[in-house]
Amino acid sequence: MLIRIITALIFLSVSSLSMAELTIQVNKGKDDPVPIAIVPFGWQSGLTVAEDIASIVESDLHRSGQFAPLSRSDMLGRPRNATEVYYRDWKSLGVDYVVVGTLSQEVTGTITANYELLDVNTQRVILTGKESVSIDKPRYLAHTVSDKIYEKLTNIRGAFRTQLLYVSAVREGGNRTRFRLLKSDIDGANESVLFDSREPIMAPTWSPDGQKIAYVSFESTRPAIYIQDLRTNARTQLTSFRGLNGAPAFSPDGAKMAMVLSKDGSPDIYVMDLASGDLQRVTNHFAIDTEPAWMPDGKSIVFTSDRGGKPQIYKVNVSSGSVERVTFEGDYNARARVLADGLGLVMVHRDSGNFHIAVMDLKRNRVEILTTTNLDESPSVAPNASMLLYATQYDGKGVLAAVSIDGGVRYRLPSRFGDVREPAWSPFLQ
């Protein structure tokens, strides 16, 4: 019996370690976040839900940096619906909004949340919602509620139901390293291994519909671009040209793949038609041209080039091949990712010898540095452009971090082991 308990404990600790490679810590918040109370949801008797829905909603809103959730221990009551709410109590606690709700099982195998968002100052219900999901997806239910509340209060589409891809490298004795391509919910939960290898994995990226991913793997001892279907996990090798095969980027319509190849000499940007396999050379320069990212209209691509002596961002028209320089501020600007509206981009920017993440307003040509750590790289923007993920170093390890696009909010997602890098924020997945 004792042995069985010990075995169970060992199993538990091992599985929790592997399941939770990322944990969230908010290290800098906005100056004036909106005070909100997410009251623990009531539930129908007999129903057991594996997760604390209200606590996940609270964590989502907290992480956005735009909200300051009230601690549960400070709550004067636990109303489950609007009729049980004493507005005066919440007003005395300085709360602007209250969320109440109940969980029930209306159809076998599902779980339903009925919830209300209340404005304490006007003493009105401003949102009434009902969401149902399969019983094994309680976190998805919570993120759905978070999205609805966020949308109601900010007028910005919520991105709490999105996911991220990233690469971890774990050094195992000698000079061996285990590389893993991982996918998790945007809060680090539900992590799964999509591919693992003794050889490097690089540059994971999403298809615009979120159903496929592409990445570079050195499993053949040479770099090659692979596409993996997330529903079937089937992998196909897209390229294995001589030289570099890197930095894949699906076009906004999903029909083409931009990439870096050096088969014709120096690294240049190419575009492959995914249906026909036809390859078009887009840049042709003896310098390093790399890190392509599509503009939202699919007509041009921004990329990094050191053709001017130092890495800077350029833009090339895919059909005409005409190139213009985009960045002029600083002696190092690289790996741009374009905001969904096409009006700005995020990139790696060197300032006083340190590598930071910066955002550039393409209309005003203004660059703003968002991060304060060194060796910051691989920025990836949320589909609602509210935040971006990037890779940095903390305590001698590669970690992922997030920063709001205005620089006001920052949090870190440290890994429990190994180095993590190259985060890729998914598109909206619904």
Binding site: T290, V348, G396
Partner: protein, 164 residues
């Protein structure tokens, strides 16, 4: 015993002071001075096994080092390569050159930089009589470091081409 320990302490202190001297010259991460002082450092350690025998692979340098953001061969790297070329001319097998970079700069740029380094070694070999078809180049960029940490001495060990 006491004397020995004191001596060792002095040695360590001297060595760290020497390393600190190397690191402190590289102030902005792109300084030529930093890279120069490192090549001095490798030279001084390498001079200890200068007496290699060209017939003995075990004594030949198989790793060639580069300066920051550079793909041109240093004098030191060229000397080491000359010895390898002399050996390779007596063989016929394939030669694999793996290019690497330090972690500064973006990963994709570093992959390109590693390739430039591998190609510059390949070009030097080809000019000096090793047939092109024997040479394969591959770049790992910053993905396969041999030294860890954020010091110039770490970085200089990772900026390399390995002959396999």
């Amino acid at each position: 015993m006491k004397y020995q320990a004191k001596n060792m302490f002095l040695g360590v202190a001297f060595f760290s002071a020497f390393l600190a001297g190397c690191a402190s010259t590289d102030t902005d991460g792109s300084g030529q001075e930093g890279a120069d002082s490192v090549s001095t450092y490798t030279e001084s350690t390498d001079s200890m096994n200068d007496s290699y025998n060209t017939d003995d692979m075990a004594n030949l340098e198989t790793v060639f080092y580069f300066e920051f953001d550079q793909a041109t061969l240093t004098v030191k790297a060229r000397q080491a390569l000359d010895a390898q070329i002399a050996r390779l001319k007596k063989t016929t097998g394939p030669v694999r050159l793996e290019g690497h970079a330090d972690e500064r700069g973006t990963r994709e740029y570093n992959i390109a930089l590693g390739e430039r380094r591998a190609i510059s070694v390949a070009d030097y070999m080809a000019i000096n009589g090793i047939p092109r078809y024997r040479i394969e180049t591959v770049s790992y960029g910053e993905e396969r470091p041999v030294a860890f940490g954020q010091s110039e001495s770490t970085y200089s060990q990772n900026r390399r081409v390995e002959l396999k």
